[in-house]
């Protein structure tokens, strides 16, 4: 289980028109850090994805640097003590993807997250990093499109990074 660099822990096909997807048994003692992708799906409206750990609805702190493909402007937005991480991938009815790295969610420590630029990926990019300041172990996560949009199709992949 821990003999290669990046291990596919789990894949989950996304249904049609769902308002959230909860992926269980994603995080285990086998790995500290994880990469999560979603591709080949769509969103019902142009929006981004929210990310929650287990049932936690507090202590999410995060910041994003973002900008449109149309110009050189870079903007920023940060939030403290929120109910979820925002801006964890996104898209619209033509192109929707997610690429996040989650640090030590299964350890009884704070959990870190960073994204790889997919935010509103048909028109903008945005790199978000954040920390969930609760020292609790989590085995599952939930993705929710912001603003009441829905997800359809595609596959969520959870990979574990090899520990030393």
């Amino acid at each position: 289980m821990n003999g290669i660099g990046l291990w596919l822990v789990k894949s989950q096909t996304v249904g049609t028109g769902v308002s959230s997807v909860n992926v269980t048994s994603a995080f285990t003692a086998d790995f500290d850090n994880y990469r999560i992708h979603w591709n080949n799906g769509t969103l019902s409206a142009q929006t981004s994805l929210e990310f929650k750990l287990g049932a936690s609805t507090s202590t999410y702190n995060y910041k994003m640097l973002y900008g449109s493909y149309a110009n050189a402007t870079v903007a920023g937005s940060g939030k403290e003590n929120q109910a979820k991480f925002e801006w964890c991938g996104g898209g619209d009815s033509n192109f929707a993807v997610m690429d996040v790295t989650v640090f030590q969610p299964f350890l009884t420590k704070y959990t870190g997250i960073c994204t790889n630029g997919f935010y509103n990926p048909n028109v903008e990019m945005g790199i978000m990093s954040g920390v969930h300041k609760t020292a609790t172990s989590y085995s599952d996560f939930t993705l929710t499109p912001s603003g009441g949009a829905t997800m359809t199709g595609g596959t969520i992949y959870v990979y574990g990074y090899r520990n030393v």
Binding site: S19, N22, Q46, S146
Partner: protein
């Protein structure tokens, strides 16, 4: 009126009343997408 669908692994079902209330609260308390 049917409630939105949620998915837990392979199970897709309607939200419960409590889940729907939390869902609406979350929408009301989330800012629009920031745009540069």
């Amino acid at each position: 009126m049917s409630r939105p669908l949620i998915q837990i692994d392979d199970l897709v079902r309607e939200m419960t009343e409590e889940e729907y209330a939390a869902y609406l609260y979350n929408i009301e308390h989330t800012d629009p997408l920031p745009n540069a």
